[in-house]
């Protein structure tokens, strides 16, 4: 699907549109405009998908999570307060679903491992199918999933600790301390990058 006007084309790509333009797109989508929804999708998919991938380290699962988040957005479109930005709303869904997915998967693998039915795979805490092709991915995989999510929210999606705290429903101090620990661990793992 391509947006059907030059104006909407400018909103495409991986960067969110300006706030005013985004409010217009949401308003149009709420009224049934497929082109507006297409523009919102184009503007937000890549960051949402990347965020899910960085939390999950599993391309297929990240695709599922990002897709489900957009489906949730479509479902809740009528209830969405268009004075608020779309991105944080979507990212909150993406990251929380990614955390839930990772926890479920981790639990499932533990159960299966205990039953002695699964070959050992991947690194500690990294979901099956992980692509640990880069040092950063390998270092991220060593972090607990909540810390990965906080790093992604802070340093990929650029939310403040206060915003992250609201998204993940945890105290701001906890966000700060987990972020500090995560950065220390990443720094150690990527020593050459110091």
């Amino acid at each position: 699907m391509r947006a059907d006007s030059g104006e909407l084309e400018r909103a495409g790509g991986s960067e969110p549109p300006p706030a005013r333009e985004e409010r217009r797109l949401i308003r149009e989508a709420q009224r049934g405009s497929a082109a507006a929804l297409a523009a919102l999708y184009s503007a937000h998919w890549r960051r949402a998908h990347r965020a899910a991938y960085l939390v999950l380290h599993d391309a297929a699962a990240a695709e599922d999570v990002a897709q489900d988040a957009f489906l949730a957005a479509v479902d809740a479109l009528d209830r969405f307060d268009r004075r608020r930005p779309f991105g944080p709303w979507l990212h909150r869904i993406v990251v929380n679903r990614a955390i839930d997915w990772s926890r479920r998967e981790s639990l499932r693998r533990r159960v299966v491992d205990e039953a002695g039915e699964l070959e050992q795979r991947g690194g500690d805490g990294a979901p099956a199918g992980a692509d640990l092709g880069t040092d950063l991915m390998a270092a991220l995989a060593e972090l607990p999933v909540e810390q990965r999510a906080i790093v992604v929210l802070r340093h990929l999606l650029e939310y403040t600790p206060g915003e992250i705290a609201r998204m993940l429903e945890m105290p701001r101090g906890t966000v700060n301390s987990r972020l500090r620990r995560a950065l220390d661990q990443l720094g150690s793992a990527l020593e050459g990058e110091r």
């Binding site: 009224r31 497929a34 099956a128 790093v151 650029e158």
Partner: protein, 409 residues
């Protein structure tokens, strides 16, 4: 490492298959949006409520935008059926060619490449011979070989009720279960003999390699490889719990790949014909993960043994979704080939050349033919009625096999 550098690294990580994932997600989201509009979901109105005509125009615009865009060009057929549930009316051809063997309430049907159909008779089960020249059909305790036009060639009476016939790749033998035993007969009805006395209710699978061997599930839950002539067990191992089916394909590397399909899990093993004639080595099992899946509906091994197609249910924000995944049998990585809201999809089957998948959608009364590579496919509806001529369909037919492109091929 400073925070700016971390930001750069996070932004530079390559997400595998990102462009295709974006296209797939786009099609699914668009379809959901169109479904929502079509279902009359409340829309927040502007200064004036949009009339129905505007909704129709919006849908038409969406469809047009889809079909005209480069991505849309690749998915036009696929998106069409997702949009309105309507496929092409009547099965007029089999995309990709070949012939289907379809089991309906009234018996098995052979479907030609042009969609023509022939009912073979009131048989309960059926299977193709390796080149599609004959079929083995079952009625009670009788196993019969018939030509594709329904002409019987021979019949034999088994000691007990016959189930799950499977014709060997050489064309020389047919294996079947009779009561609780596993038996093999020559393809000319001679030399019928018992291979094993206590087997589970799972159809056997023939070795795709040169050796005349069978894989079957014993009543004790062990997977066994046996010589078809003597019944001698050549290899055995604990099977996947709750095993429902076994498939065995040859790989390009010269070994076999055995797929075990359980109620909720998939497992593969390599099989190698040993240097000593008549021996086979059964490799260690390797589980294929189904992350996020709440139910495994069906699975099938591609003819080249490289890919397992799995039909799973995934719980999403709008309820269950039926998802077809293609899983690499070597490393377990997978990608989503198709996804549809609801739990309506029930089974899948590979085309003979492995380029397409047939997916059954009884709820929409459709068969979907999905291409394995490009993101596209076609759908045909009116399937139940096509296999229940002259009466109300009693159920949705099941696909028993998709055979070679032409008789003798």
């Amino acid at each position: 490492m400073n925070e700016q550098r971390l930001r750069e690294l996070l932004g530079a990580v390559e997400v595998p298959d990102a462009a295709a994932a974006e296209r797939r997600g786009r099609a699914v989201v668009e379809a959901a949006f169109a479904e929502r509009l079509a279902s009359g979901a409340p829309r927040r109105s502007g200064p004036a409520r949009l009339p129905r005509l505007a909704v129709a125009v919006a849908l038409a615009t969406l469809v047009a935008a889809l079909l005209l865009s480069p991505a849309g060009a690749a998915v036009r057929d696929w998106v069409g059926e997702v949009f309105d549930g309507g496929g092409e009316t009547g099965l007029r051809e089999i995309p990709g060619g070949g012939r289907l063997l379809v089991q309906s309430e009234g018996g098995p049907w052979v479907v030609g490449p042009d969609g023509s159909r022939r009912l073979l008779g009131g048989y309960e089960e059926t299977t193709w011979s390796p080149h599609g020249l004959f079929l083995a059909v079952v009625s009670g305790r009788t196993l019969t070989a018939v030509e594709p036009n329904g002409t019987p060639r021979w019949s034999l009476s088994a000691p007990g009720r016959v189930f799950g016939p499977r014709w060997s790749p050489s064309g020389l033998e047919i294996a079947y279960r009779s009561g609780s035993s596993l038996r093999v007969t020559g393809a000319d009805a001679r030399g019928d003999h018992r291979i094993a006395s206590r087997v589970a209710a799972v159809s056997p699978a023939w070795s795709p390699l040169s050796a005349p061997q069978l894989a079957y599930l014993g009543a004790d839950g062990r997977l066994r490889i046996a010589a078809s002539a003597s019944g001698e067990v050549l290899a055995a191992a604990p099977a996947l719990p709750a095993l429902e089916s076994i498939e065995w394909s040859a790989s390009a590397a010269g070994y076999g790949l055995l797929l075990e399909v359980g109620a909720a899990a998939l497992q593969v093993r390599q099989t190698v014909v040993g240097k000593l004639a008549g021996t086979t080595v059964l490799g260690p099992p390797r589980r294929l993960d189904l992350p996020g899946a709440t139910e495994l509906r069906d699975a099938a091994l591609s003819p080249d043994g490289r890919t397992v197609a799995a039909l799973v249910l995934v719980e999403g924000p709008r309820g269950a979704r039926s998802v077809v995944r293609l899983i690499d049998s070597r490393d377990g990585s997978f990608r989503r080939l198709y996804s549809l809201a609801g739990d309506g999809l029930t089974e899948l089957a590979w085309s003979p050349d492995g380029s397409r998948l047939l997916v059954a959608d009884p709820r929409r009364d459709q068969w979907l033919f999905l291409r394995r590579g490009p993101y596209e496919g076609r759908s045909f509806d009116g399937i139940a009625a096509a296999f229940s001529p002259g009466r109300a369909p009693a159920g949705f037919p099941t696909v028993e096999g998709w055979c070679c492109r032409a008789p003798g091929g």
